[in-house]
Amino acid sequence: MGARWNQRVVAGTAVGAAAVLASWLGVGTARAATALSIAAVVLVAALALISSSEFRRDHPVVARAAISVAAVDVSLVVTGFFSSTVDSNLAIGAAMSIVLLGLSFLTGSSGQISIGNGAFMGVGAFTVAIWANHHATTPIAVVLLLAVVAGALVGLLLGLPATRLRGPYLAGMTLAFAVAFGAVLNLFSTWTGGDSGLQLPYAVNAPAWLVHFFQPGTSSLTTNSVWLVDVTIVTAGIALFFMANLFASRTGRAMRLVRDNDVAAELVGISLPRARVIAFTVSAAYAALGGGLWTIINNAVTPATYGFALSITILSLVVIGGIGTIPGALIGGLIYAFAASVIAWFTAHTGLNPQGNVASQLNGIIFGGLLVLTILFAPTGIAGFVRRRWAAWRSR
């Protein structure tokens, strides 16, 4: 608890205050400048905390929160400068990051594989759509929490019998769930809307006070996609904080022990079935949160989105990003976000019909290609690769 990090916070806040002045002079409207200045102050203060190894050791939880806040802060600012297309893609990708965090925890920490997380996303996506259609007044944050609970419950139900299964057998069961999910949706088509899915009865808009702050005199934001991506990013930041807690805690350690040596893990008093159910439930809940956000971003949900291919994509992205690491999940989300942009760019420059057969397969080609490259050249994923290069560079 020395004075060193305290001094850094003070210094950081001073820099932030200077940024306030600078941005008042540089940015268009006074209010945008105010927002930007607050963001700068928050960022510098957060970075000041994170940069002190002493602080990280003495206050691990605050440090983790500061990392989440810094990441969210930067993301929020940059979304203000992107086109609405890029923002929409980023929102989709940020939601995917949440899903990847969950699977990364399951696979990287506890060593299990799930090929059903696309279907768990669907559970969350349909929970949001169905609830919103029946109770339009429920605040969206509460609806998202319901999606998390629904995902966790379905995960728990499937996880309990799966506790006696390992490796390929658990994967097989999750595969069965992924394949059966569409049929289940059809079975309850009065609720789920069958093949055509559901529309949200309302668009999720920024609250009035925020609209009033940025655009006085108007009733909604001129580009609502900024609001949607920001909601997703904040949600992802919260999910990231909780996941970092799990990774760093007794629960996360128990998962790693089970993955590393299950016999020795039992001998230190860990119940393997319990550890597996917890990991499986967490991954399902995270997937459902991501799916719920997709419904909000797209303002609709269709069962075709949550088919088997999505589950495979999720698994590929976790491997590409780096299994069992938080940065890996974020990298995977970014790749997913920009795959759409890359495809748009590619079709525009090659004259390929964007609605054609080849273009519709480009996603699979990109992820499949990246997966092969990752397995060949960076088996620990991009996050692991970067970490190793960084360590090598520092020790030079």
Partner: protein, 258 residues
């Protein structure tokens, strides 16, 4: 059954184990009390490892019972052992390969670490405090065994003898009343053997120890009592001197094996 000193910690009561038609153990009975070191010896294939695995619930007896009188329990599941004050090392070192030495030792105190899933998820102060305390006591344990300098290393990066000490440190972290050591001497050099011998003797003051071992020179001076297995049956029990003079043992084991 005879026992020296403190309360009985482990009793195998006429335990038999069949794998298909093979009788791995037949009517095996022995006990371990607090404050004594018991050695389980016998030629290869005599059933030492099976008896050991029965004692910790990895193998279910086909007939007979395993009692833990001090804990008032019988026939427990391996994951309950730590909770009833029993710790075991594994053959070789059995460490967690992708966790640092310090994390390995912290793992040994898993049941002492406080907090459930939600304590972890929300990083409640209780959980954070208990993790910090666990880290400190794991570090103290490493220092006690003289291997604190490798705390940040991975198990693959440290010498075998040091890894063995780490595995004992992990076992001691749960503060067991009964310690089961699976071949503690294997792969150690002379100096390390002496250190281990001294360490195990010292443990006697707070717990009972059962060890499976090949190395007779290591076992004989260390143990209070020996249980000799041959072809799945107990052929002798007694002090090291008694066993040395026991004819059946000489015939079955000492005379043949070494």
């Amino acid at each position: 059954m005879e026992s020296t000193g403190g309360p009985s910690l482990l009793e195998l009561d006429r335990v038999s184990v069949h794998f298909g038609g093979l009788h791995a153990l037949r009517d095996v009975s022995f006990s371990v009390a607090s404050g004594e070191i018991v050695g389980l010896i016998g030629p290869n294939g005599a059933g030492k490892t099976t008896a050991f695995n029965v004692a910790c619930g990895f193998v279910r007896p086909s007939s007979g019972h395993v009692h833990y009188p001090a804990a008032g329990r019988s026939n427990v599941h391996p994951s309950e052992l730590a909770h009833i004050g029993v710790a075991r090392t594994l053959q070789g070192v059995g460490l967690f390969p992708h966790c640092t030495v310090l994390e390995n030792v912290m793992a040994g105190g898993h049941i002492r670490a406080g907090g459930d899933f939600f304590t972890s998820l929300f990083a409640l102060p209780r959980g954070v405090r208990s993790e910090r305390a666990l880290r400190a006591s794991a570090m103290a344990m490493l220092e006690r065994l003289g291997v604190a300098d490798v705390a940040r290393q991975l198990p693959s990066a440290i010498p075998y003898g040091v890894a063995k000490k780490v595995s004992v440190a992990r076992a001691l972290m749960s503060e067991p009343r009964l310690l089961l050591l699976d071949e503690p001497a294997s792969g150690l050099d002379e100096a390390e053997l002496e250190e281990f011998s001294a360490l195990i003797s010292e443990l006697r003051s707070t717990m009972g120890v059962l060890l499976v071992e090949h190395d007779m020179e290591f076992v004989m001076p260390l143990v209070d009592r020996l249980v000799v297995l041959s072809f799945g049956e107990v052929i002798a029990t007694g002090s090291a001197e008694e066993i040395r003079a026991h004819e059946a043992v000489i015939a079955a084991y000492l005379g043949v094996d070494e």
